[in-house]
Each structure stands twice: as C-alpha cells, then as structure tokens.
C-alpha cells in the first residue's frame, strides 16, 4: 500500500475542492442568472474539459506549464519554481480539469431557485448580500455539495492529466491512481487490488455522504 500516494491524492482532492468552491459559486451563479449573448459559448467553454480526452488536455497544459509556456514562465517569475512535475502544477491542472464538475451542478442549483424568491427577497428589503447568504446559498447548497463531492472523487481518480503534467514523482506528483498503475506494471496485483479497494471505498463513502446530505436538505426544504 502506497500511503504517501494516497495522502497526496487526498491533499490534491481537498485543495482542489477548497480552491474551486468559491470559483464555482461565483461562475455558476453568474451563468445561472446572466442573460448576456455569449452565455452558451461560455457554458460550452466550462464544459470543454469534460469532453476532451485527458491526454489532450494534459498535453496542452504541459505545453502551457512548461519552460516555454506562458503559464510556466509566469509562475517561474512569481515563485521561482517550475509548474511541471510539481505538486503546484498538478493542483493547477486539477483545478482546470475539474471546472465542469464544480461549475455545472452549482449552476443548475442556482438556476433551480424560483425567480420570485429573489423578487420576494428584494421586496422584503433584503440587500443583495443578505439575499445571497440567507436565501440563495442555503437553497443552492445541495447542488454545491454535489459539485464538491464530484470534484473530490474525480480528482482522486484522475489519471491522464496527472501523468502528463505531473509525471510520477513519489511524494510530489504520484497520486494513488498513478500508484495503482505502477503496481500493475510491476506485476504487484495484490498491491494494486488493495489500493483500488481503498479508492473504491473512499469514492463510495463520498458519494453516499453527498446523496444522504442532499436528501436530508431536500426533505427539510420540502
């Protein structure tokens, strides 16, 4: 059992969720209510990582993150470090890959809020912020929670992009999914099976937790 790889994956998943949460809420809510012309194009853009083969996405990210890439260059200037084959680069890639998983359920959740609830909030004299905190966020919460669980679970299982951008550096970029692949390559079927079982368990717990919570909130709202 490659504990450091599991720990790295959990860290990567948690950090991806933490960074994507506010982005998803801002972008998802905006997409839910905006009526600007290019809305569908923007929605399509956020869904792109969903349909691109991970290796293709990974390749573009590798190019952008590399020594000659604009992102890599910028990162080096800011932090004096490389983006490829580092945990930071892996995290950045993970954020980009998970945009659709985080944004789409969040957007749907905000879209599901009846427009007259916002209008009722306004006629109650609520400020925009109060309406957001007291009405919109609690009502959208089940969807946001689903988004976060999906993002987390998807990060644990991501393989192609991780391999392209992060490589396979123990303790730095070797995630559990890579470690499993590694074990299989080394004919260590038992190791691979153990790690797969752990990953399966974690994914199951995460999904069950999300469904349970969503249902409980749903019951409360009636």
């Amino acid at each position: 059992m490659d504990w450091p790889a599991l720990w790295l994956s959990l860290q990567l998943g948690a950090l991806t969720v933490v960074f994507l949460l506010p982005i998803a809420i801002v972008v998802g809510r905006w997409l839910a209510v905006t009526r600007i012309r290019g809305r569908s194009a923007l929605e399509a853009a956020t869904a792109l990582p969903l349909v691109l083969p991970p290796t293709v996405l990974g390749f573009y990210l590798l190019v952008a993150f590399g020594q000659e890439g604009w992102a890599g260059e910028l990162w080096r200037r800011l932090f004096g470090d490389s983006l490829v084959f580092t945990f930071e680069g892996l995290l950045l890639a993970s954020l980009i890959v998970n945009i659709p998983f985080a944004v789409q359920p969040t957007q749907r959740a905000f879209e599901a809020i009846a427009p007259e609830l916002r209008e009722a909030a306004a006629s109650c004299g609520m400020s925009w912020w109060r309406m957001f905190w007291r009405i919109e966020l609690p009502l959208a919460w089940p969807g946001i929670l689903t988004a976060m669980v999906l993002t987390f679970a998807h990060t644990l299982g991501e393989f192609g992009v991780v391999l392209m951008v992060g490589g396979n550096i123990p303790g730095e970029t070797r995630t559990i999914a890579i470690a499993i692949y590694d074990r299989v390559q080394a004919f260590d079927d038992l190791g691979a099976a153990r790690m797969s079982a752990v990953l399966l368990l974690i994914s199951l717990v995460a999904i069950a937790l999300s469904y349970g919570l969503t249902q409980r909130i749903g019951r409360r709202h009636g």
């Binding site: 009722a120 006629s123 109650c124 004299g125 400020s127 009405i135 409360r220 709202h221």
Partner: protein
C-alpha cells in the same frame, strides 16, 4: 405594532410601454383604499403590479408613493425594489422554503433592531391567526396557511403600498372565502393603499372599494365597483365585466318626459334612464346585465311588463343551482340572442321550457348606452 409607511400619501402612477406587453395606465389609489385591478390573463395586471414594486421597469412614466418618488423616467429616477416599501404577496406566495414561518416574516424586518425582530414577527403571524405555527416550514403548511404567512411577511415590511397578486387563486373555494373574509377584517387596520390583482369579478366586488378594468395593458375604466359592473363605459368593459347582452342600436329622435334617451333595437323601442351625451340617430351599443332581464309571469301579469317588453323563444335553458340561465331568441334566428338569469324557482313556477315563447322586460334603469364599437354585435 405600527403599520408604518402610511404617511397620508397614496399611490399614484403613470405607466407606458410598448413591449414586452403594451401598458398604458394611470392610477391613483388613496391610503386605506383597496383597488382591484381586473382583467383577463395577459392583460398587464401583474406587469403593472411588478412595475410598482420595481421588479419591472416600464419605458416611460412615474410612480410616487407615500410622498416619495419611486420611479420617474423623465429624471432617470428608479429606486430598487429593496428601497421601495412594498408588501408583495405573490401568486405563488414565494415563501422561502428553507425558513420557518417565523423566519420568513423576520426577513422582512431586517431594518428593525435584531432584538425586536422575533417578537414583532410573532405578532404579525398572530395577526393572521398563525400563532402556534411559527416553527413550521412552508411545505408543512396548508395552502391557506402559506398565504397567511405571505400576507404576514408583506405586512411586516411595513409597506407604503400593499400589492396582492391573485392571492386567493391557489386555494380551494372554502379557504378562499375564509381568507377573503380575513383580508376584509385585516384591512380595517391598514392605512396604506392596497392593490388587488384578480381576474375574478366576484372577488373584486367583495373586497375592493374601486375596480380598474385593464385590457391589453390599457386601463379602460376605473370606478366604484357597482358603477363599473353595471355602467360600463364601453362595450369592451361590458364584455370584461361579464355582461353578455351587448347589442347595437340607434338613438331614437324622441326622449321620454324626463329627457332620457330611447334606443331603437331591432323592432323595439327601449326606454333607458340614460340622460345625455347622445344625439338622435347616433349608432350606439347598449347592454344589460342578464339578471336585469325580468321574465313575465304567466299567471298574473304585472305592471312591470310594460317596461321594455320583448318576446322571444327560449333557445336554451341551463340550470345552475339557484339560478337558471336562459338564452332567448328575439327576432331573426341568426341574431345575437338575449341572455337572462332568473332564480330557478321562478323558472319552475312559470314552467319555462326550451322552445316556448316567453315575454321579458328589460329594466330601463339597467340599460347602459355606450358609444358604438366597431365590433359590437347587432
């Protein structure tokens, strides 16, 4: 608990827009007055209400309430909804589903000191007879109870105008009558102008002081409830208030002794109590509510039969509980028939049946004469 807001100023509005639906309305509602905005679906009732609340912006016009200007297209003034003191009861109630009844009401008390909100919200709920249900979420309340929470929340805003958008449409008939009675009681303590949007004339007649008939976004007639229902100014209003007897006629050259105009209709010369405004020979429309068409008794003719007597065949007879609706063919077969609603016991006593010829009187004081409309039926 003060009703606040009401500082003597009523609501006055002037709205005009071409799209998305045309609106052309001018209204004044006095403090404490209930004005019913009546019209068919899509007539612009709700849009007018939303414009007052600031949820919809019309192209041109002005809205002033309680002495403050809320909207003025000339100066570009447009107060956001949250800065207008409106109590809005939505058709769907729009209660916050994740909050309890009490919390729903408390959300409208955001401008009150935090320590007072809970107590005040309780008082508002008690006022709509919801004490004991404070901690229930909307989904666990009945339709009538939800409506009351919505009313309590609207009042808790201490509004300068109370806007009710079809507030009784989503409940059953029994509950509707009870809620209407409650609103009638509640309004005695309310001193802000109240606008009730409804398509139900009976409801308007029960609750409102004045009604305004709106159609295709235009206010056709505003006035006392009975006045509008019995003295519509145009055939369009007559149709909208449910009058089915609308006919074309000609102003007779003679008048009666009191100077009232007489109308020639088909072979008849009808007396009216309408005094002026029409010239001899003028083509007009006239109407009469179907309950002002009085049938002649068979057994004992009375003096009333001399009042605009008309004879025809009963083409259709439909019993609707206490009243019976008659469709009477007067004159040629293809002519627009006369509708009469009479008490069922009267129909029974006179043994009225389809196919029979009967005599009816058109009550002169119930005949309304209107300027001719191109589409009026002959």
């Amino acid at each position: 608990m003060a009703d606040g807001g009401s500082n003597g100023g009523g609501l006055s509005l002037l709205l005009s827009q071409d799209a998305p639906i045309p609106i052309n309305a001018a209204l004044d509602v006095a403090p404490g007055e209930i004005l019913a905005l009546v019209g068919p679906s899509g007539s612009g009732k709700t849009t007018t209400l939303r414009a007052i609340a600031g949820l919809h912006q019309v192209a041109e016009g002005s809205i002033a309430c309680g002495g403050d200007i809320w909207f003025d297209s000339a100066t570009g003034m447009n107060r956001p909804t949250r800065d207008r003191r409106v109590g809005f009861v939505f058709q769907s109630y729009a209660l916050f589903p994740h909050l309890t009844a009490l919390q729903n009401v408390m959300e409208a008390l955001g401008d009150r000191p935090a320590s007072l909100r809970r107590g005040e919200a309780r008082a508002y709920l008690a006022r709509v007879h919801l004490d004991g249900l404070e901690d229930r979420r909307p989904a666990t309340l009945s339709g009538g109870q939800q409506q009351r929470v919505a009313v309590a929340r609207a009042l808790a805003r201490r509004p300068e105008v109370l806007l009710l958008d079809e507030p009784f449409s989503a409940v059953d008939r029994m509950t509707r009558h009870r809620l209407q009675r409650e609103l009638a009681e509640l309004r005695r303590d309310l001193s802000m102008p109240i606008i009730l949007v409804t398509h139900d004339l009976e409801e308007a007649a029960r609750l409102a002081d004045r009604i305004a008939v709106i159609h295709h976004g235009a206010l056709l007639q505003t006035g006392d409830v009975t006045e509008v229902m019995t003295r519509p100014k145009t055939p369009a209003v007559a149709r909208l208030v449910g009058i089915r007897n609308i006919f074309a006629g000609t102003i007779d050259k003679d008048r009666d002794e009191a100077g009232h105009v007489m109308v020639t209709w088909r072979d008849h010369r009808l007396e009216t109590t309408v005094g002026s405004g029409f010239a001899a020979g003028e083509q007009v429309s006239w109407c009469i509510p179907s309950d002002s068409v009085v049938i002649h008794r068979r057994d004992r003719p009375s003096r009333g039969e001399r009042e605009n007597p008309v004879y025809g065949d009963v083409a259709e007879m439909v019993r609707l509980g206490e009243t019976t609706e008659l469709v009477i063919q007067v004159g040629p077969r293809d002519a627009h028939p006369l509708h009469a609603s009479i008490p069922t016991h009267v129909a029974r006593r006179n043994r009225i049946a389809e196919g029979e010829t009967i005599g009816v009187s058109l009550r002169a004081d119930a005949i309304q004469v209107m300027r001719r409309e191109v589409t009026a039926e002959s």
